[in-house]
């Protein structure tokens, strides 16, 4: 039985954090001394109640907010020391899926999906082909020239996933991507994210929908009050799936 779940081999680490703290100007402590390591190619869930720090942690990962103290390294970049240019470069290697999808309603599906490609400097003659390919992956190739307002909620989220994966980023961050969706649509969205993970992207997904974990297993990092309460790694081998348990933080 091959144990691939244990956090080991920092050389293959996508995200490392050590005693990470985040305190907002209002005084609220969003993250309090979090220590975590997420390896490349993993599918990791961030779970916990509202206010546990899931979204704040994701914001730290894509540089939306700078940690107050501690160490955070994302794809080898020290986030506390990173400059504006480095943060921009990092973001080009990250695909982000939001709960409210954040599509541009004044732009077509094509323009929404092609935006990350344009940011990276893709030539215009390649954009349509690439957009068609990623939309085909999420089953929306025929909606290339539609506007988001003409799509259902599930379709809009699928377009958001297509946008996030259009540049084949090594890291995908998803903040409650199934929060506004029904169970069936949510499972489809999870299927796409799982497939992206199988294709090599590291996926970190914040969610409080624990039902998804049963059908779409992955590493679980349970947060509570800004700290890591529990860490479960998915261990596979020999055709069986087991979970290795670790609890290196105070009980919730």
């Amino acid at each position: 039985m091959a144990d691939k779940g244990h956090a080991s081999g920092y050389r293959s680490s996508m995200i490392q954090m050590n005693r990470l703290m985040l305190r907002y100007p209002t005084g609220k402590i969003a993250l309090s001394g979090m220590t975590m390591n997420i390896e490349k190619g993993r599918f990791a869930y961030l779970t916990g109640e509202s206010g546990a720090g899931k979204s704040s942690l994701l914001r730290c990962l894509y540089g939306g907010v700078q940690p107050s103290s501690g160490k955070l390294t994302v794809q080898g970049l020290d986030m506390r020391k990173a400059g504006q240019r480095q943060v921009r470069k990092l973001r080009r290697d990250i695909g982000i899926v939001f709960q409210d999808h954040r599509l541009l309603f004044s732009r077509t599906v094509f323009e929404n999906v092609a935006l990350p490609l344009r940011v990276q400097g893709w030539k215009p003659d390649r954009l349509v082909a690439r957009a068609e390919k990623v939309l085909e992956f999420v089953g929306l190739k025929d909606r290339l020239w539609s506007f988001p307002e003409a799509l259902s909620g599930g379709e809009q989220q699928r377009v958001a996933i297509a946008r996030a994966m259009s540049t084949k980023p090594p890291l995908i961050l998803a903040d409650e991507p199934t929060g506004n969706l029904d169970i069936g649509t949510a499972r489809h969205v999870m299927d796409y994210l799982m497939e992206l993970n199988r294709q090599g992207s590291t996926v970190i997904m914040a969610t409080h929908d624990l039902h998804l974990l049963d059908t779409h297993p992955g590493d679980i990092f349970r947060l509570h009050a800004g700290a890591l309460a529990e860490e479960l790694h998915l261990v596979t081998g020999g055709g069986q799936q087991t979970r290795g348990e670790e609890s290196d933080a105070p009980e919730a």
């Binding site: 894509y62 700078q66 943060v87 080009r92 541009l104 077509t108 935006l115």
Partner: protein, 297 residues
């Protein structure tokens, strides 16, 4: 790229630019800015057309301008001395003592060929010296001529002084026009900047998303810079078109005055000038964009 058929729904259709991109939204604010800047550029164009007409008219008769100096009780010696002094002055291209016969012919034509009257008048008339100014004679030539004439007891035709001043007056007007153009350009920059600032606020989700995707600041600003330049150029083009009605209305009058005016010379300045103020307005608007890449906690 041909559109796929709808799924039975009435989907919004928008014109697309090459490459499949939608035109940016053009709302009320943009229309208002376009109209205001168009009117401002039209006014600027009108002023410069007027300047053009004035310069053309002044140049038309100034090429033939001559100064006349009159010497009472003339004798040949004094006339020659005065003419010699005038000839030696800088800015004087030519000096001619007007013969009595020529003066008589002119008077005959003016008075209706009354020979007896002309004879009496001829006795009382002063001697005339005609001075031709050089091409770049300077604005003090008339005063210098007047001084020289006074030293011989002569006088310069005062009516011709006003004609000389017209050229320097046109130069002053042109300077004022440049100043006015700069002031109006500044106002247009502020108007366009304000409009684009509101546009950016309305499209803040797009700006924020581009930043989240790792776009550089220039990538974020570029659409707005482009929009500002287009707005300005569009206003310039419209302003140029609006010059034609007043130009056609006064074309007959200008023809009578011999003033040549062409609005085609203003087309490129209005287009590029409008684009420049639009671009500068957009630059001003986007310069104040707060960077939201990373907020310190």
């Amino acid at each position: 790229m041909p559109r796929k058929p709808d799924h039975g729904m009435q989907e919004r259709r928008m014109p697309r630019l090459p490459g499949g991109f939608s035109l940016p939204p053009f709302g009320l604010h943009q229309w208002l800015a376009l109209i205001i800047v168009c009117i401002a550029l039209w006014a600027v164009g009108l002023f410069w057309l007027g300047m053009q007409a004035g310069s053309s008219w002044v140049q038309g008769w100034q090429q033939d301008i001559r100064f006349h100096i009159y010497l009472e009780h003339p004798d040949a010696t004094r006339m020659q001395q005065l003419a010699g002094k005038l000839r030696a002055m800088p800015g004087v291209a030519g000096v001619r003592i007007v013969p009595k016969d020529e003066t008589r012919s002119w008077l005959d034509a003016w008075l209706g060929a009354s020979g007896a009257l002309s004879d009496e008048l001829m006795q009382a008339l002063p001697g005339s010296i005609e001075v031709t100014p050089a091409a770049h004679s300077g604005e003090f030539l008339y005063a210098d001529l007047a001084d020289m004439a006074r030293s011989f007891g002569a006088a310069v035709n005062r009516g011709e002084a006003h004609l000389v001043q017209a050229r320097s007056l046109m130069a002053h007007v042109e300077q004022l026009l440049w100043f006015g153009t700069l002031i109006i350009a500044l106002a247009m920059i502020i108007i366009i900047s304000n409009t684009l600032r509101m546009t950016m606020l309305a499209r803040s989700d797009e700006v924020q998303l581009m930043r989240l995707l790792g776009a550089s600041e220039w990538f974020v600003r570029m659409p707005f810079l482009f929009e500002g330049a287009l707005l300005g150029a569009g206003a310039g083009g419209l302003g140029w078109l609006l010059l034609w009605p007043p130009l056609l209305a006064v074309s007959g009058w200008l023809e009578q005055l011999g003033a040549e005016v062409s609005s085609f010379g203003l087309l490129l300045p209005l287009l590029f000038g409008g684009a420049l103020v639009g671009w500068l307005g957009a630059l001003l608007a986007t310069t104040r964009m707060a960077s939201e890449n990373t907020a310190p906690a």
